[in-house]
Subunit: 261 residues, 4 copies
């Protein structure tokens, strides 16, 4: 079995733009792309399967489903049409082979559909939980001039190299390999704590705000805002617990020290 | 070398149903499928070899044999014929490539034979040794309606997603990938402790009871019952040893504490 | 690049028998096969290269050489001709893919040359350094009747399964996969300590004694005997050092105990 | 996707010689080859891409670039033309498959261009920071006679096997596999500390001195000299810090001992 795409419907698209949001740090890209699908009522038209995904099935209720990526489209009444790529998984192998195979397959498919612009969405780990207003979106491009084209969308294109250095997985490879096909590529990465279990709608909202500006598409972020508020509540609880734990720890350490001393 | 199937005999089968029981947690599936082969006096007709199995040979007395999977058939005088898949091994690589190759090869072969229904058998680890009567069989399907079709077989289809979340290996992939070929797929998983060395005939018996109901095939579980009793004796011994060890440990910990304090 | 064989010369061989001795536990097989090449003055006629060998070159003086396996032949004036396979390496990947590819390539080549019997040589680790006279050779076959055919060669075919259970790598796979090509396969394994740095000419001598009987070929083991004596000297030194270390350790432990107690 | 070479320009070259300097220990080869490109004003004419490189993109400012290797050429007015191979990465997989694929692709390409001599540049770790004047260059060849041909270039060809034993990665495989294509291969390795973060222009300068003699090409090492001086300053600082740390440590250990004793 090779990586393959199962086409459910062949939509006619006008200058389609690919937006990718696969699982990754803080699930930022996935949340952002998933939200976009809901808000725009985008329609699924293709699925990608790969032997490079991990060998298990996910259970939705009692229904087992093989890991897959999914393509949705949205016909933009006022501008270029949009394709959104989401999914359960990226390639699971530590070496490059699986990642390259899946990403090339995605690019082949997009090229056939006439895609010439790609936006990839992700998070990057800071190790800190920041205030909502302080969360930055860092940007990378696959051609220097693109940073100027999108300069006014509130994305920090200046510190990306010094703060990140590299972009791992599909989010990076998609724009890197798109260059050889003369496709424009922009990667937007929202700052997130990067704690393993914490999915981060706040970074996703920041990323979507910038993306909407770049695309000139109005996206109502109201529903995401609600999730962000729930998350902030959750973060406050965690913080309190941490403070409490810290206190106990310090006291104990103090006791220990006094005991040893 | 690619994964390949060596056909020993080409049986003519009537609406054949595949039952899979490969090695896995508690070896539940393997014991169940192996027992079925013995009870039904099923006949081997094909072997599967793969470079994705680990690179060693097993010794049966002094005879070295490459790892393989085996297909058996049983002609059902009163209903659909049955194919049973057992074996020494699943694919050994941690990434998906080997698993996908082997499972697709099995499905190709079954499709040629006219299989339209697949039952996969396995265990799932609870970390607890439960009473025989408390052992549940959880079920997963590859189409929602199948859970209703088989509702009366004593299988819990309601808690599978919340208690398991995913099914790893051939047991899951077989029904997941079967869906794309319009084959029905049901996975039955018996609760087992999941201790590495413990193969579990008790969970296997529970799985077989449900399977027999689903298939409408009478299977005499008498011989398996004997093994279950042996296992229960063994479990009692383990429990006693654990209690003894626990006692000693507690006392020692107590001594230590009093010594330190 | 695929695994390939570079043929240097095409010898005409009479019922050739393959003898394999690749690197492994105690390097028993490699020493035995290498000694055989020297004693019989066998001639190299082919080399096997594989991308599944590890990615480095070995230095012989200052000359860098890619890892390879080598085929030698010896024209037996009194019986069947002999092919000897030695080499720097077995496949380096932990999964089966590389091992299967290399072993199948060896079997393809041998089949073309008319090979119908294969002897593989190896060691198996006991964790103990035994007296020369106590070293046993365990045997495995790929057909039950072969154990009887070679019953009088001083090989223990009775305890192989219970003491080993499996044979890892080319030594096992060669005879396992040979069966499907109707080639006879016998594996001889000499008991060795299995310490990582210790290559073991003693086990190699025992293996060669049995092999010579099975083949009906006279092999002068005099030179190997010398190496065995050197090894025995070396083992005595190690033993003395161990006893010394043990003594010191015991005393120290005793001191510690008295100190704690 | 397979490893492939994207040709930007097809230069006509006169007896071209390949010089390779990819990332490795102390980045010695990469620095040396990179310096050569700058000094000779060599021109890029081809890029190599491979799915065996790790799955990430590097950021140069905000521009994301897929990992690649690059070929440069320099037309030598007084002798044979030169091709220089540099890059971001070697194959990333621990087994040989990726390394072999990339190296064979490089050799295919060089063979088409008429290359008959290959020089590979690298470092080898000594674990010691040595004085500049004491740094040796060890040499390996793919044919014994080459060590004599290049005897007067200040390279130690005598101790290579005893001090190194093997050469890992492209630096070794390129000359090892070149032999089968009747290409001459010489590997030059400069002694370097081998500390993970320390790139070593000093070993690179030594390697370049020997290479220039072998090629009969004048290379001005002035600019590299400056970097070497910066490095020596840096090494002095490290040494002072180490001495300081050592002193503190010894004192503390002393205190501890007196405390315990």
């Amino acid at each position: 079995m090779q990586t393959y795409i199962r086409v459910l419907e062949k939509p006619k698209l006008k200058n389609p733009i690919l937006i990718e949001g696969l699982p990754g740090i803080g699930n930022v890209g996935r949340i952002a792309a998933g939200y976009l699908i809901e808000e725009l009522k985008a329609k699924k038209f293709a699925e990608l399967y790969s032997p490079h995904f991990l060998p298990y099935v996910l259970l939705h209720d009692n229904v087992a489903e093989v890991l897959k990526n999914e393509f949705y489209f949205w016909k933009n009444p006022k501008g270029d049409d949009i394709i959104i790529l989401v999914g359960d998984s990226q390639a699971g192998d530590p070496s490059g082979v699986g990642h390259y195979e899946v990403v090339e397959k995605i690019l082949d498919f997009c090229q056939e559909l006439g895609v010439k612009k790609i936006f990839t969405l992700g998070g990057f780990a800071t190790g800190e939980i920041e205030e909502m207003k302080g969360i930055e979106v860092l940007g990378a491009v696959n051609e220097a001039k693109l940073a100027k084209t999108y300069a006014s969308a509130g994305v920090n294109f200046s510190d990306t190299a010094s703060r990140i250095g590299m972009i791992v997985g599909a989010t990076g490879l998609l724009i890197g390999l798109a260059k050889q096909r003369n496709m424009e590529g922009v990667c937007l990465m929202g700052e997130t704590a990067g704690f393993p279990i914490l999915t981060d709608p706040r970074a996703a909202e920041k990323v979507l705000q910038s993306l909407a500006k770049m695309l000139g598409v109005a996206v109502d972020l109201g529903t995401l805002d609600k999730r962000v508020k729930e998350m902030e509540e959750f973060l406050k609880k965690i913080e309190k617990m941490q403070q409490k734990a810290m206190k106990q720890l310090t006291t104990k350490e103090g006791e220990k020290l006094s005991y040893i001393g």
